[in-house]
Symmetry: D2
């Protein structure tokens, strides 16, 4: 099958080539056929179906040419029956019949649509982490490298987009790292937890196999390298959990992307991503990958809410809530992967400008030390007097274009209150040391 | 370009073949090239660029072979620059150069990425209504037909899934019709309102064209058969409005789908859609298209919330909020179209069983008339006494398996209170007449 | 009733005191009682119920003391019956009985829960626009004032947070204005369109009133100053439309808030809102109201998606989809109002610093003119040569800290290509003029 | 403080009295004051502030009368500064000053707004599980009881709302149980994982406390009985995780509510909840609590998507994404609790009608055995022949109103193929046994 157009232009920012391939027709059909092959194999082994038939089915499933020419018909039948299992079984029966007509009787033996559809999804989910691993490894390695390299690179901490107190860029990168690390850990756990075989038969009781049901279910899990499980036809929390974990990881990636875009502003100029060009303006270095990451991250929460809404499955198989999962979950994962890929690339090539960070800090003329000054003064002269002195010094610093420290040193009350300690107000080493403690803690998490 | 895989299996329930084609690479690239051709044409006509160059560009854009072989590279560059305009312009420049190197200077003259990307989207939006029109016409015609045919087919009205008072199936179909009609009207308005050219240049001022800017923008709108507009680079309300309208239409379609699925329950049995089969159970007639419609309808609200979240565009062009629109809006429209197609097919082939409707009504043993009885009794004996009589009659009806009317007629207080009027309690003709008035009103809306 | 705690701290950023009051218990109960009073009045007038009873009911409804002490019981009964109509009717019956026991028979005559609940909601919706009008008027007036005052205040246009080409602050304010104006227009239309009486009786047929149904429904609309309508028990598109319109307006407000916050960054410094203080740092001027607006705007899309999901109403009255509307729609409106109030206050007190805008523009050293240079050069020497010259000049400008114009003038190829026209590259007056044309167009919209 | 109106009518279906109280002004202010008291206490103990001042502050915080009369002013200041910490600190300073003016200097020492706001939220989160525990215990106990009582109560399994194969009501109740159990386990884990102190100071470095920072942070966690943590000012994954877990639990509850409503339909009649009344129809028993649960469950996903969207926190403290959390997370939890309470009550009082379940099964005339017949026949005569026989028997069963088993027994091909085994087709004991195996497995999970 020509996978060319699985990676569609209209969705360029919400997938990656690798993930588009993972959820391509070839891959999805392959996963469904893997289920049918494994089912026949374990049923043949257990004597539930004839061993010869099992071999034929497994072989036909594994060798099956995919219905390139007939994909439109396959899709039409999928929509008509609200499940791809119906045309899939027809396809496989046809292939089996061509080899051994008698074996066709045993295709999909004792299984239901949801067994093959859900297990195929789980088999695809197992391939998600490997698909993302390289980008994750590259990103976290780059973040650790950045953090270590800038352990003592001082910059302005910013809250509500305003200067707060000094931090280090090493700490900022460590915070980014910790967010991604936590998100990845959540996603890994969720994917592991979701990796369970689905095998329940028509109404989820496996009754068609009688007393063989539990044994076949267990063997099927082993054959497919999945965890065993009672049927989960209508308990979809684990899939929703994968989606939520994607959203949490996307959020951590979006945070990095937005921070990078903010730091790259011409007026800030503290970092530069190897940016995208413009179709109109030759001078531009756009934070293009940050834009892609943000677009992907903004897409995910709505997809998750669709999946969460769909959790209300009716009776023994849902009408609507189940059928939306394939598209919603694959779109969620693809968008998350797009964000991860874009952020990994951006961080991998990030230029950092410590001098500009220092210049922006200095441009506050020491206003970032007003908290420390306030605490020192409060201890000496009380809350109200401290506030008055600091207020006065800040105004003087602004009006006379001197530093806040100089303004304090020019204030008799401040000098009287703080004495020699007045110079401690501006001690950046305290900020750096405090940041370093936390930086190490975060990187070790 | 081979459009085969634009209609992907993983997304089978949230698009249609026609809409997958509308948002295919060939279609999207074609719309972008249409913009470039039209821009060159009007700029040539106005003397902003040489007429000869304009002709070459327009011709190259219209004849351009699409980059089948290089689509992967096109996508890579799209992601790298966070816009398909960058590789698109490169592609067009290359084609133009092959014809007339000098003309290449005038490709994309005075335009910016967002001009071509947004206008291409709007050109695609113009094709949405025609793509949906057949299904809409078929659905509304079928609903009108059903409504007229069953103007006096009595059935149980159900509130909170419990029997309420009698209605007609004709009224129910008219309510369905009115919902779809309103949703369609909203979507049409929103699509019309969104059909505006985007042409603002680098920062949305058209300054690169100097005093020619307004004229070129106006001519471009005419050339592309779009409405003129000041640039709307960061005012995206009209696109969000299209998405919201899709969601409202999807909701109306989902309502029909759920009602059909409920009416098709074996225990209710009032309608039957020509259902989908099962991979396990030969006896099943699944409301498969209803399931597809519900899956699509459940997907749309989350996509809309993504678009609404993205409305917060930064400064003169957004980072993230803009880049997510193509995928989110196209997915919204595709899912809506999938729901429309599925519901149109279901309603077009719906079997209705009036006898079963009547049987289910009769099975309530007249409890559905308790409201009318209560009002008649209240007027005669007051609120408390009326409630006591009705309560008694309902209990007797249940306990003795007689009708509520008979139970009333066996109640001395009821007889005393209502006299001959007691038979009016069960007058279905009043229910039918009341339903008919509203049915006509709704169909004429 | 003490409305104190209707404005809850936990929800402080997603409502306003006025809107918390509008959706307070007193207000909601009052709207339901208004429905009951009007219903009795028109039914009395039409002879459907005795005129005397109608008077008593209307009087009792209007004079009713609200159940302060029993609000907990009222809520318990509301939850138990899944509708506030049940305890409301009990309450009113009790009050009517105290005046005239016989009149109690006619309370809520021919109506159903959904009639009173939906009409009460619509009556509250009618008060939404007046509640918001002052903030809207103040905001749009301030935006027009800002735009006019800064018609020729030049600043950097920014795309993807990077410098693009010059614009004016007057244009930026006009774009803000146009977004708010459009959003308001959508919300007004949606509110007007939703302002329809609900009156359908038990199953939406008005059958309980027989042939009087249509007349009573029409008179009720007049009495309540609402539009007449066939029942819309399960057609909720108009309510969803109000919510979507809120989201679109919120998005326009969020865009302003984010722009303001970005412009207020210390390193940008182009505007200052009269900011919020900090609990730790005396030097801080936080864009506090922008934060509140953004929090509210981010909340709305998810609320809208809940309402859109709920559109799938079952049969003649929904189970779940209907019951969620009161909270979801009131929360949507409150958050929108919170954003409007915060942005109106921020813009009303905004300080603008034209000198800083100019300085930031100058700090690009003319790179913002690279688009114009490119077009002029392309016309003279073709695409490739033009790109090379511009690239060279940009590099020289960066490396030698000279302006882009000077770099061009020092480039022999550029001088040869452009001759005297070389100075036109830096003509800000063209940018201002282009911006001014659009500014006027947007303000007149 | 009069907590009366914290439980608002407009939000009646999306909270409970207990949760409305948990997120009431009194409770929220109390949690913030607990933080300030604990902070002063541990700082006093460590000698960071004078021990005497610490005592005064802790006492003032614990004894503080809440600002009943001034709540409107408190809210105004909260909105003005985009944080309740600013008026909270003012309030506490005032109370401390009244006791000991000098101690006021040490209020909120070294902390920032986000420290008190986030820690207060976490303190409230700690009370969530206890608030929900009774309903959870009651619900799971009732589900286990129902499941055990109906281990052999046979009913129709239903997929896509159509009859599938037989199951037991015991299994259905066990599936409900497993969904709730899993959801609760996820929520507990998420709440535990989120239970970490926030203490980072102005920019999250704790620099104001110098080398005392880590020790104070650790002691504060102990004092408040929370887990220690590096500051998580911008890493909000754990809060999003709580919200997602709420949505997953709500989905499991919504599934039960919808199943109950479907089983309560008059035509199905397999269960009855002690239902709500109607304002119009005395005969109605509405599944009112199921409606409340569904309304709450439909609300949650959109709230979650808001929180997930808000994860993109800027720099060292977000503008918008942080400020929306209080309302979004408290609304999420309240809606989840409302669903839990409603479902617990519904299941606690559920009547089950085994005879009706059996009758509905019998009404399929054995069509539910078509899967088993098909498998038995396939093994005997191959796929095509088996399908033909079953198709024929199903048609005959329908046309002649005989059971599917009788139709098979009347079919010569079927008899030839199956011999004596033909009666095995209808063996319900196999269905019951298969269901029982899974039922036990699910209850033991």
């Amino acid at each position: 099958m020509n996978p060319l157009n699985n990676d569609r232009l209209i969705d360029a920012f919400v997938t990656t080539p690798a993930l588009a391939e993972l959820f391509s027709d070839a891959s999805v059909l392959g996963a469904m056929l893997d289920f049918e092959a494994a089912l026949a194999t374990v049923e043949g082994r257990a004597g539930v179906i004839p061993a010869g038939a099992a071999d034929v089915i497994a072989r036909a499933a594994r060798d099956a040419d995919l219905p390139h020419a007939d994909m439109a018909a396959f899709l039409r039948d999928t929509r008509r029956s609200a499940t791809p299992a119906v045309p899939l079984v027809s396809l496989l029966v046809e292939r089996v019949r061509a080899i051994d007509p008698a074996a066709a009787a045993y295709v999909h033996w004792g299984a239901t649509s949801q067994d093959v559809v859900d297990t195929a999804l789980v088999l695809l989910l197992k391939r998600v982490r490997p698909s993302l691993q390289d980008d994750y490894d590259a990103l976290t390695a780059a973040l650790q490298r950045l953090s270590n390299a800038h352990a003592s690179t001082v910059m302005v901490g910013r809250t509500l987009l305003q200067p707060a107190t000094p931090i280090t860029f090493g700490l900022k990168a460590a915070v980014w790292f910790a967010g991604v690390w936590e998100g990845w850990w959540r996603l890994r756990s969720a994917l592991d937890y979701a990796g369970r075989v689905q095998f329940g038969g028509a109404s989820g009781t496996r009754a068609a196999l009688g007393s063989d049901g539990p044994g076949i279910a267990a063997a099927l899990a082993v054959e497919l390298d999945l965890e065993p499980s009672p049927p989960w036809h209508t308990r979809r929390g684990r899939l929703a959990d994968v989606a939520s974990a994607c959203a949490i990881l996307s959020g951590a990636l979006g945070k990095i992307a937005r921070d990078v875009a903010l730091l790259m502003q011409a007026e800030v100029g503290e970092v530069a991503a190897s940016g995208g060009g413009s179709s109109a303006m030759p001078h531009k270095r756009n934070p293009a990958e940050a834009a892609v990451a943000l677009a992907a991250a903004e897409r995910v929460p709505g997809l998750v809410s669709g999946l969460l809404t769909g959790l209300v499955h009716e009776h023994e198989r849902a009408i609507g809530g189940w059928q939306l999962e394939w598209s919603a979950l694959s779109a969620t994962i693809q968008a998350t992967g797009a964000a991860l890929s874009a952020v990994a690339s951006t961080i991998g090539g990030l230029d950092v400008f410590p001098a500009r960070m220092r210049a922006n800090l200095d441009a506050t003329r020491g206003a970032v030390f007003s908290e420390r000054a306030t605490l020192l003064l409060r201890a000496a002269v009380g809350r109200g007097a401290a506030a008055a002195i600091v207020e006065r010094a800040l105004a003087r610093s602004r009006d006379e274009s001197i530093t806040f420290g100089d303004a304090l040193r020019a204030d008799a009350d401040a000098v009287r209150a703080l004495g020699d300690g007045i110079d401690a107000v501006e001690r950046l080493d305290e900020d750096v040391a405090a940041a370093e403690t936390l930086r190490r803690e975060l990187l070790e998490s």
